[in-house]
């Protein structure tokens, strides 16, 4: 008798902007193979991570049962307990901490990186809000600099064109953008190739010669990390001097160009931002800067596409603001084949989905005034009760006495290897040791999970139902439950519901998972019906042309003001001026990073560390999947000249260190990174020995726990030294 194999469609969970279609083969309740989209074009084909889910999901390392800590916290010793015992303990600790210290002592961490709308942190957020509220964080580790710049300049975060719009571009500048590794919207790399084949010129500006550079770029311009803004300002200088800017566009749609011009020409501060000035800072020759400027100013339409990496530096907001000003100076905003300079931030059309559970108001967020560096429109995220994601360890260690909003006693960590993925792990370990209780919802024994007092095993996305609206291209996805949950794993909604019962929250939720998902779909103006979406797992929205951000504002400015206070594109921002912080200037400026090459610290630590996205991981996820790790193992990537003077051979293990930490890691010696710069791709799993030296290649043992003044993550601003081990 033939064994029947069923094929069920679903959407890959991970929030790389992809949301690719997976066709999952299942036999006798076990997943046997995974195919990808082979239906109508445009197909959403999965990457190697999407194809390796079977090995991750059935990994022998997967957590199977609830566990409680035995022995010292962080020692990694656990004992299996029942769900009742685990949930009773979490509920009683929550009650105790709420009763003893108040709501702000409860700190909810993590909950990002996935596309699921229902499962994730939302159910727990609702539960804790219905208690007395909870403390949480702000500051996206991905794109906070881009977000700040987009809100400043355009008054919205919805500022990018659809990716297929690249086909109309005559010049594309990938600025710190590697779409092969980061995906950044489905089929972005496919459109990049097609744009090149159609004749677009493509330039890559990046300290690394990435796979995207290798495949798409006609020209590679290596640039010192943290100096990108200086090059952008010099490009503005060349445009102004050669009168290449689109003055009528600037006159019609923007405010503040004259003040920016005064700064560029040196009228404001006596320093003209010439290409020669930028060459000394960036390492890019004045001639290269000048030629590229002329190309960008004259090749219309042109798309200046920043990744988020150059914005993940000290003062990274300035990079994104400067990119947007250049896009404005060249009149490329709101036009097909152009780009607002938002590059890869935000889809330019709006998804419509119904409410994800009824969101409850969080009294801790609402009880505190707005942060100085938050916009009036930022809502609860702008609450001064929130801690920046790179300052959480410091906040726990210092508390109110150190100027933080609260003393933190209980950590609730959801779907996040938070210790691994936030800067200064050695400080993090001290912080995790002093709080009173830690509950972690996880699938694997991560560095963070090892510090749990109660560890709750989570279901995989193929073991529950969920829905998503992906970014970059217009489609909706349904994540189907394909098999029963692994051992005793449970979903986020199930756990929050069970806790609500124990905490006496009667109005948490009275609907099933499917009823909630149906409500979400019913709230959409695009999706015809729930059952068809569930069956196909994808609903493609047919647009007559690629969506272009700000097209209406540019075509008909009278009736369509920008969402800024002035109604114009704000090169000068009064809102930012009102923040009254010299490090957050009202026009974009070049401000030196800390730990830059002029820092005396370079005598000890002469190499600039960057932490790029790994091709075969989603941040720290998939680190434990053999099909992927056998193709690319964690290493520090170093230029051959830097390796040679240190006597380091390709493949040898080396010491990487600074005052914050130390690791032993394999060296990958290459010509594909500029001298003076080394790269440790983020997401290696922190694996300390008895001396606290990391053997897992996690760059956050080296990174500094400091946020940029307006909130950008600074994981590409760090000095280190490397020695033969």
């Amino acid at each position: 008798m033939a064994v029947t194999e069923e094929v069920i469609n679903t959407i890959c969970l991970h929030d790389c902007g992809g949301g690719c279609l997976l066709k999952v083969h299942v036999r006798d309740g076990v997943i046997t193979r995974i195919e990808t989209d082979d239906s109508e074009e445009l197909q959403y084909r999965a990457c190697p991570k999407g194809r390796a889910h079977r090995q991750k999901m059935y990994s022998p390392d997967r957590l199977k049962y609830p566990m409680k800590r035995v022995g010292e916290r962080g020692g990694g010793k656990f004992e299996r307990v029942s769900w009742d015992e685990a949930l009773d303990k979490v509920a009683s600790e929550l009650k105790r901490v709420y009763g003893t210290y108040g709501a702000s002592a409860v700190l909810r961490l993590g909950g990002g990186g996935d596309l699921g709308q229902l499962h994730g942190a939302e159910p727990t957020n609702r539960l804790l809000s219905l208690m007395e509220g909870y403390s949480t964080t702000w500051g996206s580790a991905s794109f906070e600099g881009a977000l700040f710049a987009s809100l400043t300049t355009y008054g919205t975060t919805v500022s990018a064109n659809d990716r297929d719009d690249l086909l109309d571009s005559r010049l594309i500048i990938m600025w710190g953008l590697d779409v092969v590794s980061t995906i950044h919207g489905n089929n972005t790399r496919y459109y990049m190739a097609q744009a090149r084949e159609k004749g677009a010129r493509i330039v890559s500006i990046d300290p690394k010669y990435t796979n995207s550079t290798a495949t798409f770029a006609h020209q590679w311009i290596p640039i010192r990390p943290g100096t990108d803004t200086a090059m952008l300002l010099a490009m503005a200088y060349v445009m102004i001097k050669e009168n290449l800017q689109d003055q009528s566009f600037l006159d019609t749609y923007t405010i503040g160009f004259d003040r920016f011009k005064d700064y560029i020409l040196g009228i404001e501060d006596g320093v003209p931002k010439t290409p020669a000035w930028a060459e000394a800072i960036t390492g890019v020759s004045a001639e290269v800067i000048t030629i590229l400027t002329r190309e960008y100013a004259t090749a219309r339409p042109a798309a200046l596409m920043p990744g988020w990496s150059a914005g993940r530096t000290a003062n990274g907001e300035q990079f994104h603001r400067a990119v947007m000003v250049l896009a404005t100076m060249t009149g490329n905003v709101g036009k097909h084949g152009g780009n607002s300079g938002a590059g890869v931030y935000g889809q330019s059309y709006r998804f419509s989905l119904g409410r994800i559970l009824a969101q409850a108001r969080n009294p801790v967020d609402e009880g505190a005034p707005r942060r100085n560096n938050a916009f009036p429109t930022s809502g609860v995220i702008g609450s001064s009760s929130r801690i920046h994601n790179s300052k959480v360890w410091d906040a726990i260690l210092e508390g109110k006495a150190g100027g933080y909003p609260a003393d933190y006693k209980l950590l609730y960590v959801i779907d996040s290897n938070y210790l691994n993925q936030r800067p200064d792990i050695n400080k993090g370990i001290k912080a995790l040791k002093i709080v009173e209780f830690i509950v972690v919802q996880e699938q694997f024994m991560t560095a963070t999970a090892r510090f749990a007092d109660i560890l709750l095993p989570m279901s995989y996305f193929m073991e529950r139902n969920d829905i998503t609206a992906a970014s970059g291209l217009p489609f909706y996805g349904y994540m189907n439950k394909i098999v029963e949950p692994y051992y005793e794993t449970r979903s986020h909604l199930e756990i929050a519901s069970a806790l609500a019962e124990r905490l006496g929250i009667s109005d948490f939720n009275d609907k099933t998972e499917e009823e909630l998902l149906k409500e979400i779909v019913a709230g959409s103006r695009d999706i015809p019906d729930y059952d068809t979406l569930k069956k196909n797992a994808i609903h493609r929205v047919n647009l007559s042309e690629p969506s272009v951000a700000f097209k209406e504002q540019i075509e008909n400015p009278q009736n369509n003001p920008f969402h800024t206070p002035s109604g114009k594109i704000e090169i000068y921002s009064q809102q930012v001026a009102d923040m009254d912080d010299p490090l957050i200037p009202p026009i974009p400026k070049y401000i030196e990073t800390w730990e830059n090459l002029n820092d005396p610290l370079t005598e000890k630590y002469p190499l600039q560390l960057i932490t790029t996205h790994p091709k075969l991981r989603v941040h720290s996820q998939f680190y434990n999947v053999p099909w992927l790790t056998e193709l690319e193992s964690q290493a520090v990537i170093i230029n051959a000249s830097d390796a040679q003077v240190r006597g380091i051979k390709d493949g040898a293990h080396v010491r990487v260190f600074n005052d914050r930490g130390e690791m032993i890691i394999r060296a990958s010696v290459t010509q594909r990174i500029m001298p003076g710069v080394v790269d440790i791709p983020e997401g290696g799993w922190y694996t300390p020995d008895e001396q606290g030296i990391d053997w897992g290649g996690c760059p956050n043992v080296l990174n500094r726990d400091e946020a940029s003044p307006a909130g950008a993550f600074t994981s590409n601003t760090c000095l280190v030294q490397i020695q033969k081990a």
């Binding site: 084909r45 190697p48 550079t213 770029a217 006609h218 290269v288 099909w627 290459t670």
Partner: protein, 190 residues
């Protein structure tokens, strides 16, 4: 009829999805055996570099050296479509023989890490071809850089080029593959 592959080297980003999709579909565990591989070719010195990628599998040669070399009759070339297949029951195992591997200039015969591993390699996804589908590597490529089918049809569609960066065409065994090559144009920065 001879089945074969087409590879557009200008499109390949070196993402490795063809490798993982192949391992998943054909149930090949992590380890030394990989029916499809991706090589990175790097030339030049900073900052003047040329980098490209080459994905390789069995090329189902017209005159397969492995078939001739196998003393056990384990490797055969199918009459109907020219696909080269291995009967692992007949293979003596690597502890005794690796003549096929020695004979093949493309390292297509693969061996797992198990004791006396039997030879395994790409069979152009025979099971998928029977269902009217393309091999899984072809259907996995996000760049649409791969194709497979009757070689004559591929030549009609894509041309005759049999050489590319990192690959040397062997006139002796005649691999069934055509390319869109990426020439060594050095990208300069300054």
């Amino acid at each position: 009829m001879q089945m074969g592959f087409y590879f557009d080297q200008t499109r390949c980003t070196g993402c490795d999805v063809c490798i993982v999709a192949c391992k998943d579909w054909n149930n090949v565990p992590a380890g030394p055996a990989s029916w499809r591989r991706v090589a990175t070719i790097e030339e030049g010195r900073f900052p003047n570099l040329f980098v490209t990628f080459l994905t390789t599998s069995c090329y189902h040669c017209s005159e397969p050296a492995c078939v001739a070399a196998c003393p056990s009759g384990a490797i055969t070339k199918r009459e109907e479509d020219g696909i080269v297949v291995v009967d692992r029951e007949k293979c003596r195992g690597r502890d005794h023989c690796d003549f096929c591997l020695q004979a093949c200039p493309y390292q297509s015969p693969q061996f797992g890490s198990e004791p006396n591993a039997k030879m395994q390699k790409c069979n152009l996804c025979l099971d998928r071809l029977e269902e009217g589908k393309k091999p899984v590597c072809v259907d996995s490529c996000p760049m649409r850089a791969l194709d497979a089918g009757p070689l004559e049809n591929l030549r009609t569609t894509y041309g005759q080029e049999s050489q590319t960066e990192g690959f040397i065409y062997s006139d002796e065994i005649k691999p069934s593959v055509i390319f869109k090559p990426k020439r060594s144009v050095v990208i300069t920065s300054r």
